[in-house]
Amino acid sequence: MTATEHPADVPRDGPELDGPELDRILSETWGDKPGLIGWLTTVDHKRVGKRYIFTAIGFLLLGGILALIMRLQLARPDSGLITADRYNQIFTMHGSTMMFLFAVPVMEAFGVYLVPLMVGTRAISFPRLNAFSYWLYLCGGIMLWVAFLRDVGPDIGWFAYTPLSGPEFSPGKRADFWAQLITFTEVAALAVAVEIVATILKQRAPGMRLDRIPLFVWGMLVTAFMVIFSMPAVTLASSFLLSDRLVGTQFYNATEGGSALLWQHLFWFFGHPEVYIIFLPGLGFVSAIVETFCKRPVFAYPIMVAALVTTGLLAFGLWVHHMFATGLPRLGYAFYTAASMSIALPSGVQIFCWIATMWDSRPRMEVPMWWVVGFIITFVIGGLTGVMVASVPLDLELHDTYFIVAHFHYTLIGGAVFPLLGAITYWFPKITGRMMGDRLGKVAFGFVFAGFHLTFMPMHFTGLLGMPRRVYTYPAGMGWSALNLTSTIGAFVMALGVVLFLANLVRSLGNGAIAGDNPWGAASLEWATTSPPRPYNFAHIPAVTSHTPLWEESLPVFSGLRVEHRELVLTTVVEALPDVRDPSPTPSIWPLLAALATTGLFIWSIFSPWALVWGAIPVGIALTLWFWPKSSPDTHQEPVIE
C-alpha cells in the first residue's frame, strides 16, 4: 500500500527510500538533541515512558521500605520501636505512595511506552502533554516525600476521611500535602489517559480493526476511560478538602450543614475504580505473556474484551461496599452486594480463558510464565475473599481488619505486581535490547512468591481474631503475636526477592544476552521493530491483516509518510482505515517549565489562597509559549489517498 497523490518534491518512506538512508533521515527528524537539553526537552514516548517506569519503581522501593518498618514495629506486641505519630505517618505514606505514586503511574507508564509500539505508530498523541504529565508526577512525588522526611508527612490514612483530615482535627499542613499530592497525580494521570485514548482510537496501524487490537491495549483503553470518569470525583473531593482547610468552607463539617459522608462517597466513587485502574493493565500483561508463550491467541478474544469492558463498567457501581458500616439504608446495600459479587464473573471468565489457552497449547515455562502462574494462584484467593467482603453480614465483621489488608494485598500484589514483574521480564529485551537472567529470575520469583504468602496469608487469621488495621501497636494475649511475627518474617523474605529481582535487572542491563527484535517469538507489533526501538519506532508503518500480525507469513507495510517532518498517519476509529496525515509535535522545553510553574502554584496554594491568582500567571505564560502558533507550511493535515 502506498499513499499517492503527494507532491513529488517531499521525501517519503517507501521502496525508493529505505535502509540506512531512511534510518538516518528519520533519526534526524524524530531524535532528540544530544545531552542535557535533549534529556529535558524530549517528547519521545519511549524516553518518557522509561523515566516514568524508573521513577515509579523508585517509589515502590520507598513504599516497600515503609512496609518493612511497619512490619518491624508490629513484629511483637507493645513494641516501642517507633512512635504512634511516626507510625501513622508511615502507614499513610505507604498507602499513598503505593496507590498514587507507584501503582497507577507504573501501569500508565507501561501504556505510554508500549501502546504506540503495539498499535504501530511513530509517537504517542499529545507527546508534549505526556512530558508535562511526567514532570508533574515527579514534582508531586518529591513534594510528598520531602514533606514526610521533614516530619510534615500526612497521618490521616490514604483515604483521609473527614473530619479527621479537616481543619479542626488535623491542624498544621500535613493533610494539605496529602490533598495536594492528589491534585498532582490526578492531573498527571488524566493527561496520560487522554493520550492513551487518542492514540488507541486514532493512531492504530492501518488494518488494526477494533477486533485485532492486542488485549493489553484493550486493557489500557478501558483503564484510560476509567481514569477519565473516576479521577474528577477525587479531584473535586480533595479540592473541597483544601478549601475547607484553607479558606473555611464547610463542605465536610456536619455542624455547619456539611457532611462527613460526602467525602466517602466522592472518594470511593474514585477509589474503587482505582483498584481496577491498577489491575486491568495487569490483566493485559498476563494476556500478552500467555499469548506469546503458548504460541496461540488467547482463547475467546471477544469474551476477554467483553470481560474487560464489563469490569470497567461495574467498577463504578460498587463504591458503597466500602461504606457498609456507615449506616446507609440497609436494603440499598443489597444492590451493592450484588454488583460487587458480579465482578467475580468477568474475572473468573478471564482466569478460565488464560488457563484454557495454556491447556490448548504447549506453554514454554519461561520466567514471565512463572509470574503468570503465581498471579493465578494468588489473585484468585484475593478475588474469592473479595466475594466474602461483598456480603454485608460478613463485611460488617471483616471491614477495617487485617483480613481486609490481606484481601487487597492479594488482589493488588497478586493481581497487578506479579503480572508487572512478569511484564518487566517480558519487555525488558524490547526496552533495553538485552535479556534478563533466567536463573536469577526464577530464584527472585521464588522468594517474592513465598515471601508474599508468608506475609499475607497469616493476616487473614489475624483479622478473624479481631485485629483492626492501622493500629501502631497491640496488646499481648490476643492471639495475634505469633501471626504478626510470621508476617514480619515473610515481609523480609519478599523484600529479599525484590532485591534479587532488581539485582538481576541491573546486571542484565550490561551483561544480558543480546535480544534481537523478537526474542520470544511474539505476535504483536512492538516486536516488529528493533530492540530497543529507534526514536521513530518503525521505518515503515506496518499494515495489519490479523489479530497476530507477526505470526503471519509476512508483515506488509504502509509507506509514503514524510520523513523530514514528524508525521503520523491517523486511521478511522473502528476499521482503522487510513484517514489523514497529522504532524506530531517536536521536542520542547515548555512542558517542563509549565510543570514547574504548575508545581509552584500547587505547593503555594497549600499556604495561601492567593496562589491561585498570582501563581496562575507563570502557568499562563508557560502554557502560552508552549502553544505559541508556529507558521509552517507542513503543519496542516493532508488527506491520505490509497
Binding site: A84, D85, N88, Y161, P163, L164, E168, F169, A254, T255, A260, L261, F299, A300, I303, A325, G327, A334, T337, M341, A344, L345, V349, F352, C353, I355, A356, M358, W359, D360, R362, P363, V373, I376, L384, T385, V387, M388, A390, S391, P393, D395, L396, E397, L398, H399, T401, F461, L464, L465, G466, M467, P468, R470, Y472, T473, Y474, G477, M478, G479
Partner: protein, 325 residues
C-alpha cells in the same frame, strides 16, 4: 460433613484468645457470621480447588484434545457455575442480613447510647425514667439473651464500634446517629475496639464487654446507679479534695460530688472496671498511678494532661479513685 467442615476454620483459630475473635459466636451476629462464612468458605473453596486443578492440568498434564468446542463447552459450564455460586451467596447473604435484623424484635430491647471521642467511649444506659439512666465509660455490661439497641454518636471524628465476638461493626459519625443491634447469647468477658482509624491513639481505643446473667446485670446496674461513697478516712479525703480542687474535676464527673465534667470519662465507679484509659491498662493501683502521673507516656496525644502533684498527692488521689467501686 457439615460439622467436619465447621471445624476447619475453628481448628485454625484454636488455642488463641477468643476475647476479640469474630468466630467466637457469643452474639447472634457473630453466630450468623460463622454460619455464613462457612457457606462462603465451601463455595469459594470449591472454586479455588477447581482453578488449581485446571491450572495444574494446563501446565503439566495432558493437552486438550477436544479443540475449541471443548474449551467453549467448559467455558459455558464454568460461567454457569460462577453464576449459580454468586446467586447462592448473594441470596444467603441477603437472608442472613434480614434474619439478623429480625432477631430479638419480640423482646424489649435494652437501650444504650454510645458517644465516641478521641480516644474513649462514653456509655449511657437509657431508661424511660431519666433518674434510672446510668452513665459509665469504656465498658458495656449486657444481660445475656436480651437485645441491645445501641445509639451511636461521635463527638469529634468518625469512630467505629466493634465487638467482634458479638456482632459486626457500625460507624459513629459526627452529625449522624447510627444504630446497632446486638443480641448477646453467651456469658463471658469480651473486648471491643474502635475499628475506624481515628487519629493518633486509634490503637488504644478499646473497651470491655461483660455479658452476664440478667440477675448479675441487675445487680451491677443497681450498684452503678449509686453515687460515689463519701471518703472514709483522711488519706482518701485528701485525694478527694485534691481531685475536686484541681483540673481533674473540670473534665471528669463523679456522681454525688461537685465534679461533673463531661469531656472525659465518668469516674463514679471507675474502680469497678477491668481496665482504664480505654482498655489500655489493667485496673490496678500501679497502673492507675502511672496513668495519672504521666498520661502522655502511656498514651501519647491523649486528651488528658498531666496534673502537677506531689507523690503524696498522687497516692491520695489513687487511694480515692480506688474507693470508687
Amino acid at each position: 460433613m457439615r460439622r467436619l467442615l465447621a471445624l476447619v476454620p475453628l481448628a485454625l483459630l484454636a488455642g488463641c484468645s477468643g476475647m476479640q475473635s469474630m468466630s467466637e459466636g457469643a452474639g447472634f451476629g457473630s453466630h450468623l457470621f460463622n454460619q455464613l462464612m462457612l457457606l462462603f468458605l465451601v463455595v469459594t473453596g470449591i472454586s479455588y480447588a477447581a482453578v488449581l486443578l485446571f491450572l495444574t492440568m494446563a501446565v503439566v498434564g495432558r493437552r486438550n484434545e477436544g479443540g475449541e468446542p471443548r474449551l467453549q463447552a467448559l467455558l459455558i459450564a464454568w460461567t454457569g457455575f460462577i453464576l449459580i455460586g454468586l446467586i447462592l451467596l448473594t441470596g444467603a447473604s441477603f437472608l442472613s442480613d434480614r434474619r439478623e435484623a429480625r432477631e430479638g424484635s419480640d423482646r424489649t430491647p435494652l437501650k444504650v447510647t454510645v458517644n465516641a471521642n478521641q480516644w474513649w467511649w462514653g456509655i449511657e444506659y437509657q431508661n424511660d425514667d431519666p433518674s434510672q439512666s446510668l452513665r459509665t465509660a469504656n465498658e458495656l455490661h449486657l444481660p445475656v439473651g436480651r437485645p441491645v439497641e445501641l445509639k451511636l454518636n461521635a463527638g469529634d471524628v468518625i469512630h467505629s464500634l466493634w465487638i467482634p465476638a458479638l456482632a459486626g461493626k457500625q460507624d459513629l459519625i459526627p452529625g449522624r446517629e447510627n444504630d446497632l443491634r446486638v443480641v448477646p447469647t453467651r456469658i463471658g468477658h469480651y473486648r471491643g475496639q474502635c475499628a475506624e482509624y481515628c487519629g493518633l491513639q486509634h490503637a488504644h481505643m478499646a473497651f470491655d464487654v461483660t455479658v452476664e446473667s440478667p440477675q448479675a446485670f441487675a445487680a451491677w446496674y443497681k450498684a452503678q446507679s449509686q453515687p460515689a461513697p463519701e471518703p472514709a478516712d483522711p488519706g482518701i479525703k485528701a485525694g478527694h479534695d485534691f481531685f475536686m480542687s484541681h483540673a481533674c474535676a473540670m473534665c471528669h464527673a463523679i456522681g454525688g460530688t461537685p465534679a461533673n465534667g463531661t469531656t472525659g470519662p465518668d469516674l463514679t465507679h471507675v474502680a469497678s472496671r477491668k481496665t482504664i484509659a480505654a482498655g489500655t491498662l489493667p485496673m490496678t493501683r500501679g497502673a492507675l498511678m502511672g496513668w495519672i502521673a504521666n498520661p502522655q507516656g502511656v498514651k501519647p496525644g491523649a486528651r488528658m494532661p498531666a496534673v502537677g502533684m506531689t507523690p503524696d498527692e498522687l497516692h491520695a488521689v489513687a487511694s480515692y479513685l480506688e474507693t470508687l467501686k
